[in-house]
Amino acid sequence: MGSKTSLSKALVRRETISGYLFMLPCLFFFLTFVIYPMFMCVFTSFFDSNMGKNTTDVFIGLANYRELFSDRIFLGALRNTFVIVLVSVPVVMVFSLWVASAIYDMPMVLTSAFRCIFYLPVVTGSVAVTVVWKWMYNNYYGIFNFLGKNLGLIDKNINWLGDEKYALWCIILILLTTSVGQPIVLYVSALGNVDKTLIEAAEVDGANRSQVFRNVKWPQIMPTTLYILIITMINSFQCFALIQLLTSGGPNHSTDTIMYYIYYTAFKLYRYGYGNAMGVVLMIIIAVLSAVQFKLGSSDN
């Protein structure tokens, strides 16, 4: 910024105009397909709306929101969503940091190999991955039941996805495998970028491995940790495709998440206004949690 002020005004203006021109195409799409729908989402949440399917929209104020908090299915979905977030976020964080720490200073070939293995589920289409998992969980010929019985861990076949006790945990397990790839890649590069002389300085200062990690590496990778925390959290909150493909929220709404219930309400029951109200609530929850994390994370630095 400092250097810009020394340029002539006319020059700055010309650069600004060309800058906006470059932005224009992107800005157009962003406004049309992101900002406008977001606005519409908030707007329609105050209406009894079915997007003109049968009747015109009727303004009903906060009635949708009031209904939300007495809707047992929504509250159940909210609880399920929080279970997924509270389990998957810490597990993803710890596991990815552990793997990254173990592989980042291996020889280049090994590091790349491990990175590739953990990243594969991310690049493989989620539908393909889910179909394979669905087969593995199958009640009659799934590999889990086969192994479980042969190893004597279970007496009889378990209907993994059809049982309220297990269904949500099965989904969390799949979510974990697809969520760790990105954090591992990010952590490997963050750890590789920690200034080597800082680590050496700490070693000379008398720090053992865990002290070096706690006092040097951990603070240095804090920005990455924060970023991973937030993307993992958002990713977990928005868990949808898995549910849609595996259980459709069943059995008995035991695997409903907010995202899935929004889809269900809006596109199966055609209650757009009500669905959008849930979307707004989810947005507020994610925004608040992200803000809190940023606040906590940046106060360290």
């Binding site: 590789g192 080597k196 002389t197 050496e200 300085a201 070693e203 000379v204 200062d205 006092n215 240095q220």
Partner: protein, 392 residues
């Protein structure tokens, strides 16, 4: 406080593997070992390095880039594995002792201050790790800060400090814990010229207040000369000479040391003839015959020197402008204030002379003028052009 003893230390970087690792971890580019010997076992960075460093001695390792001086220091610190040889700190063999257990402190070239800690915490870190009582930590940090004049910055983060202040913090961090050995890896090379001179003087002062053993690495021979009790001059992984600043300046062991120590560089005259006439020696150079001093004669005779081709070395400060002697043409004369640097040409060879300006008629040393120079034969050095060793 402890002595340090290096016995026949050798460091070899295995071939391809380390190269890849180096690139990945962003090792500093000057560490390139281009002029080192590449053998079947790998790149030899240091070899046949034997040195006894006495308790409380200040030893400076000096040499051009890639001579192995930093590698040697890092081996003492325990940051590089020692390929062969033995390293003792005090009486303890520490080849396989981790850096944290060697009780050494190190000042890094880029300071390596912990960016997320305040100056106070940076300095207290090693003491905290040793579970020193809080009050003692506080007293020691404050004392060190006092010595280095950084008391007012104790609450700041390193980011908010200037280069010179960071340097002080780095030194402070090293001295708070009374290490047995204090290692310094080019600590002044990131500072500007003025600060460097100032910090150099402060290091000398600091040295008097702190009783520990210092090992200091630099490529700057001025730092080496002014700071060191003894200087170790290295090239291509080999020690060239070990001696006090005076010794290495007055009796350089070989051509390399003669050229490396002293600025401007010593003038070398190749293809001169050493001739023995009865019991005395003389040197034939640039068409004249120069008789040598009694002391030089004695040394040459003791060494049994015969007639041979030699390289004559004369320091610029030992050249005088006289009325007769060797005729040379001045290409450029540089006025430095109290002295003058004369870049001269004699029979196609460039040489440099330094003469005092007091009482000098500047007209006689203008660019392009013809002058005569001479020197005191007692101050010249004779080198065997093949072995490069000093004959005297």
């Amino acid at each position: 406080m402890a002595s340090v003893k290096l016995v026949n230390i050798k460091k070899v970087y295995p071939n391809t593997e380390t190269k890849k690792k180096k690139v990945k971890k962003g090792e500093q580019p000057e560490e390139k070992k281009v002029n080192l010997q590449i053998t079947d076992e790998g790149v030899v960075a240091v070899q046949e390095f034997s040195l006894d460093i006495a308790d409380r001695e200040f030893v400076v390792l000096v040499g051009p880039s890639g001579c192995g001086k930093s590698t040697t220091l890092r081996m003492i610190a325990g940051l590089e594995e020692i390929t062969a040889g033995e390293l003792y700190i005090g009486d303890r063999l520490v080849n396989d002792v981790a850096p944290k257990d060697r009780d050494i402190a190190m000042v890094f070239q880029n300071y390596a201050l912990y960016p997320h800690m305040s100056v106070y915490d940076n300095m207290a870190f090693s003491l905290k790790l040793r579970k020193t009582p809080k009050a003692e930590i506080d007293a020691k940090v404050k004392e060190a800060a006092e010595i280095l004049g950084i008391t007012e910055y104790l609450d700041r983060k390193p980011k908010a400090l200037s280069g010179g202040q960071r340097q002080r913090v780095a030194i402070g961090r090293a001295i708070v814990r009374d290490p047995k050995v204090l290692l310094m890896d080019e600590p002044l090379s990131n500072l500007d010229a003025k600060l460097r001179n100032q910090m150099r003087a402060e290091l000398i002062k600091l040295r008097q207040r702190i009783t520990t053993t210092f090992v200091y690495v630099t490529h700057d021979q001025t730092e080496a000369m002014t700071l060191g009790d003894r200087i170790v001059i290295m090239r291509d992984g080999y020690i060239q000479q070990i001696g006090t600043p005076q010794e290495v300046f007055q009796h350089p062991h070989n051509l390399f040391v003669a050229g490396f120590i002293g600025t401007p560089q010593m003038n070398f005259f190749n293809n001169c003839k050493l001739v023995k006439e009865g019991n005395t020696y003389a040197v034939e150079m640039l068409g004249k015959k120069v008789a040598l001093s009694a002391e030089q004669n004695q040394k040459l005779a003791a060494a049994g020197a015969a007639d041979q081709t030699v390289t004559v070395g004369v320091r610029p400060v030992h050249l005088d402008i006289t009325n007769e002697g060797f005729a040379a043409k001045i290409d450029v004369s540089e006025m430095m204030g109290s002295e003058m640097h004369l870049h001269m040409n004699i029979e196609g060879q460039d040489i440099i002379g330094i003469i005092p300006t007091a009482g000098l008629d500047l007209n006689t040393v203008k660019n392009g003028s013809q002058v005569f120079f001479n020197f005191n034969p007692a101050l010249i050095h004779l080198f065997n052009p093949e072995t490069e060793l000093n004959l005297i």
